[in-house]
Amino acid sequence: MSEKGRRSPIDRLLAVNAWVIYVFFYAPIALLIVFSFNDNDNVSIWTEPSLRWYRAMLEDDRILGALRNSLIVAFASTIVATIIGTMLAIALERYRFRGHGALDGIAYMPIIIPDVTMGVMLLIFFFQAIGVIEEIFGATFRTGLGTITLAHIAFNISFVAIVVRARLAQFDNSLEEAASDLYASRWATFRRVTLPLIAPGVAGGALLALTLSLDDVVVTQFVSGQGSTTLPVYVFGLVRRGVTPLINAVSTVMLLASMLLVAFSLGLQRSRTRAVEEEDDLSDFVPGSSQGTKTG
């Protein structure tokens, strides 16, 4: 601690390094946003501010169609992944059962594995699955919003589970035990005790899932079909061909939307309800409070 408080040359150097990094983080984003309001057809020559490209964006049917697809996929996959992911977090954090370790390992694999391999896996899977479905049911089933949603649920379950589990680990299950000692049914215990305590984690996880789904390019590209482009995949196609002011405008909207969602999600994850804080204070005096600790 003795180093703190004094402004040593090293400390000043550290501060400079930090501010340079923040500029590095935010300058490209800021430039993109500023130039999306540029009136000029040429992306990088500034003439005067205008909303021209935002108007063009709102009149572009392909962009609006892709946005619609993105929103459908994001909301559908978030709802399903939040429910399944929360259940997974509760099961892994509060119970020990056969296959616990295996599930614990598999649950985090979709996060570690690179997007490209996840995309490849699901491409082959849907290709085979569609063949099997056609053979058995004779029904034709094609890749599209359905397969994209199924793929997004697959990676979002893991992210929701991580966020909710971190929240669950903040308090042990003595409150839940107290509720059941007072003859609350399991469902009532869940609804009245567990759910309110983990609600910020669940909401934070859901917002993160929504963000990841709205942002995903790689996995989506592999499992989308004709006419089922999402906004990032459509923009990715445009970006590979070149830089246009229109892309700047679309990018700005996508970026601000995702930053806003992330900021909300982080806020929720960091919020600590009074119940949890009291629980923290009590936890030292509750026997067996180490139950929430993870293995390994």
Binding site: P28, G99, I106, I113, L122, F125, L208, V218, V235, R240
Partner: protein, 291 residues
């Protein structure tokens, strides 16, 4: 009315509780098996499959041809380039982020939280758009070039070079390095550093012999978290790289979406995953040692 808690009853209660946990986990279990484990196994199966003359995958005549091709010079060159780029990205991130994380971790609690959130917001927000911003900056009439020309220099076009990809990767993956480093430095016992100083260690010695070894778990975790996505990067080279800078990620994608050689693409994916697995194992090993 109340029964005596016998060991048998307790074991039965324990079993019932375990069974309940299993039922709660079941939807996730099934979902991950169907949409993750089965696809993973399918990739493995495909990597041994053969190919018809029209490029369709034939699930017969199992062979090791795709794996043999992994050892060709073409793949070797792409792999080496990816490895080098991933290692360079990791090294730059480590050197820049260690002092950065140290700075954040040694601020007061309020400022520390603000600084952390400022790292995490770009970290989770749209990766594609953040990479695209660099295309806008590094292009032949981009900001970098304009600044150079304003000072009477030549126009600089960094876009479509390895340097551009490197900048994009450092930019995209840096937060992966900051957060574990921060976590490791933040929970460091500063009394040990003070003790070293009291024993007449210079600032540098105290850092090298106390602070750095104690923050090693963060160094390892951060390096692997940057190394893994760098090695499999696809979006960054696709947007900022050129035709001569093919990396593992876009090479794999090419096998599926344009070359239509699924068995070879599968073998490449398996090889990439094997590398990730090794890196992850190193991560857990080092983590376990430092608990």
């Amino acid at each position: 009315m109340t029964q005596q808690a016998t060991p048998e009853l307790e074991a039965a209660a324990e079993r019932a509780k375990g069974w309940r946990g299993f039922r709660i986990a079941l939807p996730a279990y099934l979902y991950l098996v169907v949409f993750f484990v089965v696809p993973l196994l399918l990739v493995l199966v495909y990597s041994f499959a053969s190919r018809s003359s029209t490029g369709l995958t034939v699930l017969a005549d199992w062979n090791l041809d795709s794996y043999a091709r992994l050892f060709s010079t073409e793949v070797g060159r792409i792999f080496l380039r990816s490895l080098l780029l991933a290692l360079t990205t990791t090294a730059i991130c480590l050197v820049v982020c260690y002092p950065f994380a140290y700075f954040i971790a040694t601020r007061g609690p309020t400022l520390r939280n603000v600084l952390l959130v400022l790292v995490m917001i770009p970290f989770w927000s749209n990766f594609l758009v953040r990479t695209y911003a660099w295309r806008f900056i590094l292009g032949s009439d981009g900001i970098v070039s304009q600044i150079s020309q304003a000072f009477g220099g030549e126009p600089i076009r960094l876009l479509f070079t390895n340097t551009a990809v490197l900048i994009g990767m450092v930019y995209g993956f840096m937060p992966f390095m900051v957060l574990p480093l921060y976590a490791a430095i933040e929970r460091l016992d500063w009394n040990l550093v003070d003790a070293a100083r009291d024993l007449y260690a210079s600032g540098w010695e105290a850092f090298r012999k106390v602070t750095l070894p104690l923050s090693m778990p963060g160094v390892v975790a951060g390096s692997i978290l940057v190394f893994i996505p760098s090695l499999g990067a696809y979006v960054t080279p696709a947007i900022l790289g050129g035709a001569r800078t093919t990396l593992m990620g876009d090479y794999i994608v090419g096998q599926f979406l344009s070359a239509r050689n699924w068995p070879f693409g599968s073998a490449l994916s398996i090889a990439l995953m094997a590398l990730m697995l090794i890196a992850t194992l190193i991560y857990f090993r080092s983590g376990a040692r430092n608990v």
